[in-house]
Symmetry: C2
Amino acid sequence: MTYGCIVSMKTQPGSRDEVVSILLSAADGLREAGCDLYVVGLSHDDDVTIWVTEVWQTKEHHDASLELPEAKAAISKAMPMLKGGFTKQELSVAGGLGL
Amino acid sequence: MTYGCIVSMKTQPGSRDEVVSILLSAADGLREAGCDLYVVGLSHDDDVTIWVTEVWQTKEHHDASLELPEAKAAISKAMPMLKGGFTKQELSVAGGLGL
């Protein structure tokens, strides 16, 4: 099975769209880092929560991607617009449609 | 933006693999019902939790899919193996990789 994670984060009020743009701009280089899927969604519950579902070839690919210069740049750019409330669910991906 | 949802459910002990099989068997017909993505994952936190990330062309496509005979059959087959603890996050999908 491949490795997956479902992450949520909360932004400062008014900053969600900008954080989403940063997350999407970082998605470009993910495939060559071993990422099969990266879906960024805006919660309907409020206007500050973002959910990201990721599928990677292995957990090691995921972990290594966080050390890429592009990833570090995106994280440091987004960080001031985030506040607490992170969640992370780690998964073994059994399959489905569209993978 | 397309419609997304992230759902979690808990199975009775020992039943997770069988519920996952039912969910995956139901995935076959989803594309023609308007589903772009359906990812079934097994939580690393325990051995009873399943997470599903779905992306649909619209919320109406998603809602209509629940009325399909195959979906109703899958739900009624899985239901006795589930226990409480359902969660559902509705999303507007901004984009990403692999969609």
